[in-house]
């Protein structure tokens, strides 16, 4: 019985007519040609242990050199955080993942979630900087690796989000000056590449501060990313606000609510619920974009991999290194993108359309 269903499925989906059968055969043939050499290269012939690093250079044995990752994993995860203190960023990584998971869990209520996030982010800041409760102080030049990537994206979104709500409201405001300012800001930021905003933060910001005042590099980059993300998030929030029927606001007005009450209790909760899938997509884009700090020389996940490659022992293994980097980013982005696709399907059943946001 089961075999028959499989057979039916196969004939309907793979061999329904001649072009279909031809496509199937071509794909199977190409896969046959590609998959085995790839498996041989990536798994069978691969070098896994740093102790046989010399095997990586053996031209008679064409295999991937994953030993590089095994040798450098601490640097790639934690940057140059003091070795005996690396349990701190390790806890930070785990708690950030827990925070994400918790936010996607429908049982947790909104007010609880905000409280959990505030406490969580404060604890994370304490763990990273230290200096209190017997934790030694670690200056932020030593933060790095995956920890830094997660911190940049999480804190970036956490601060950009409230800002973006204000900008979105400003763009829909009836007060002309406020509307013009919001439109100008959003369109200007969205019109230029993120790199130029990062350059601006790293080169130009010091020029605009009084002599003697300086903000460190990490904070400048974080500031730039917050200002950048806010403009994109604002457009997503505005999309949500526009989807709310006018009557909702008019009803609230009729009940005698003031502007902020209408926003906080009536419009915003509905608008944000609609906007969750594109918000998640924006977050994915933002998470990927943190990798651009490689250009201004912050030690994030990608930069640490790039730097580890410059060590003489590991030069020339860029293909493996960047495959690993890609895998790392994929590991975080793919579940998020599945999550937002699921929410979209729930919101609009029967329509398999996904909105794609990207900076």
């Amino acid at each position: 019985m089961k075999a028959k269903i499989t057979l039916n499925w196969t004939s309907a989906n793979l061999f329904s007519n001649w072009p279909n059968t031809f496509t199937t055969l071509v794909i199977v043939y190409l896969a046959w040609q590609l998959i085995f050499p790839l498996i041989n290269w990536a798994l069978v012939n691969a070098v896994w242990s740093p102790s046989n690093a010399s095997l990586c250079r053996d031209t008679a044995r064409p295999g991937a050199c994953w030993a590089f990752v095994a040798d450098k994993y601490r640097f790639i995860l934690f940057g140059t955080f003091p070795a005996d203190q690396q349990w701190r960023p390790a806890i930070v990584i785990v708690s950030l993942l827990a925070l994400y998971a918790l936010s996607a869990w429908p049982i947790v209520r909104r007010a609880q979630l905000i409280a959990i996030w505030i406490v969580g982010l404060a604890t994370i800041g304490l763990l990273m900087w230290g200096g209190l409760f017997g934790l030694s102080y670690v200056e932020n030049e030593r933060w790095g690796g995956l920890t830094l990537t997660l911190l940049l994206s999480t804190f970036g979104i956490a601060f950009a989000f409230p800002l973006s709500i204000l900008l979105a409201l400003g763009r829909r405001s009836e007060l002309r000056l406020i509307r013009w300012f919001s439109i100008g800001y959003i369109e200007l930021i969205r019109g230029v590449p993120l790199i130029s905003v990062l350059f601006m933060a790293s080169v130009m910001l010091p020029l605009f501060l009084p002599a003697g005042v300086s903000i460190d590099k990490l904070l400048r980059a974080q500031l730039a990313m917050i200002l950048f993300a806010a403009a994109y998030l604002a457009e997503v929030v505005r999309g949500g606000l526009q989807a709310i029927p006018r009557q909702q606001e008019e009803a609230a007005l009729a009940l005698g609510h003031g502007y902020w009450q209408r926003i906080w209790y009536v419009t915003l909760p509905q608008a944000l619920r609609i906007a969750i899938p594109p918000l998640v997509n924006t977050f994915i884009g933002f998470f990927k974009d943190t990798s651009l700090v490689v250009i201004i020389g912050l030690f994030d996940f990608l930069t640490t991999i790039k730097i580890a490659l410059t060590e003489p022992r590991w030069t020339g293994f860029g293909v493996e290194a960047y495959m690993f980097a890609a895998l790392g980013y994929f590991f975080f982005c793919y579940p998020m993108s599945r999550y937002s696709q699921r929410l979209e399907r729930k919101a609009a059943p029967g329509r398999g359309i996904s909105t794609t946001t990207e900076f």
């Binding site: 406020i178 590449p193 990608l302 860029g318 960047y322 890609a326 990207e358």
Partner: protein, 339 residues
């Protein structure tokens, strides 16, 4: 909104009257913006004075003094002005962004159709491609392709030659070009020393950037095409089939014209993204506009002017692409529908 619906205590406290409040809010914002601008600008003026950097665009006519790896059709040498260097950078941006837009549209169209194909394997393959591309940062992909070209391809002496006259090596790609304007004779690249001479060539930087940008953008366009086709009502498809149109004709005359109306606006923003993303060139050392401005800023300290140039140029490109696409959109829009 009628002005007196919300002001409950308006007679008691005129400051809370919505109309007055509106004036106060806007005045506050204007004051804050002006104060902040004044504060930052006065700091900048002081700092520039202290560093002896003359503000203004006078530096553009000065000698640049740096070489550019790729100048394509423009002639450029280190003794040329900054203005010329920037022009080369801008040209390089277009040189990679325009072909990337074109090719990624074609691949994206194919991907969108493949994702909806009746063949299960093909659909899954296309969707796996889209997922991988969309969930890996573009910079990582650029580094990867650059590594593939410079590390995995052989040296020019043992270059791969998939077609006669085409050579793939870790120094980039060499290909034959027409020898003269009115002839069909080809000028073939030939190995000499450590590289190829004759014919045309693409640097590894250009190749990696073009490849990465095209494959990445194609994934996003593929999703838009798929969504656009799905947005056409299924009844349209069935009606066209029952009129006796073939599958290809249904696509060409019924589905695509309707789908394009949904596809064009989001694809426009993908084209803009593609152009903006080409600025990642700086990561792998391709001299696009942003990379040249970056070098200029490092040499002259003219950070404000440099960033103003970047912003103006990208703003102009955005407006250019948008108006071109708006014109196209108006052409394919429903007749009689309000724009």
């Amino acid at each position: 909104m009628p002005a007196d619906t919300t002001g409950r205590n308006q007679s008691a406290r005129p400051i809370f009257h919505p109309r007055h409040r509106a004036v106060v809010y806007q005045a506050l914002l204007a004051a804050a913006v002006i104060l902040a601008a004044w504060y930052f600008i006065s700091n900048a003026v002081e700092n520039l004075l202290a560093r002896r950097i003359a503000s203004g665009f006078g530096f553009l006519s000065r000698e640049a003094g740096f070489e550019i790896g790729e100048t394509a059709l423009l002639t450029y040498s280190a003794s040329d002005s900054y203005l010329r260097a920037l022009a080369v950078g801008l040209f390089n941006t277009f040189r990679v962004a325009l072909p990337a837009i074109l090719i990624s549209s074609l691949i994206g169209m194919a991907l969108g159709l493949a994702r909806l194909a009746p063949n299960w394997l093909l659909a899954k393959l296309a969707s796996a491609y889209v997922e991988v591309m969309r969930n890996v940062p573009l910079v990582v992909q650029l580094f990867f392709w650059y590594a593939v070209i410079t590390e995995s391809l052989p040296a020019p002496a043992d270059a791969l030659s998939p077609l006669p006259g085409v050579f793939l090596s870790n120094r980039g790609f060499a290909y034959p070009t027409l020898a003269g304007q009115f002839t069909l004779a080809l000028d073939y690249p030939a190995l000499s020393g450590f590289g190829f001479t004759g014919g045309g060539s693409l640097s590894p930087e250009f190749a990696a950037l073009f490849l990465g940008l095209t494959l990445y953008t194609a994934a996003f366009i593929g999703e838009i095409v798929r969504a656009g086709i799905l947005s056409v009502d299924r009844g349209q498809f069935e009606a066209a089939r029952s009129l006796g149109l073939s599958g290809r004709q249904v696509m060409r005359f019924v589905i695509l014209p309707q789908a394009l109306r949904v596809i064009v606006p989001p694809v426009t923003s993908q084209y803009l993204n593609c152009t903006k993303n080409s600025s990642l060139a700086v990561a792998i050392g391709y001299p696009d506009l942003v990379a040249i401005v970056n070098t200029t800023i490092n040499q002259t300290g003219q950070a404000i002017e440099g960033l103003a140039i970047i912003m103006l140029v990208y703003l102009a490109i955005s407006l250019g692409i948008s108006s071109l696409m708006n014109w196209y959109n108006a052409r394919i829009a429903l007749r009689g529908a309000q724009s």
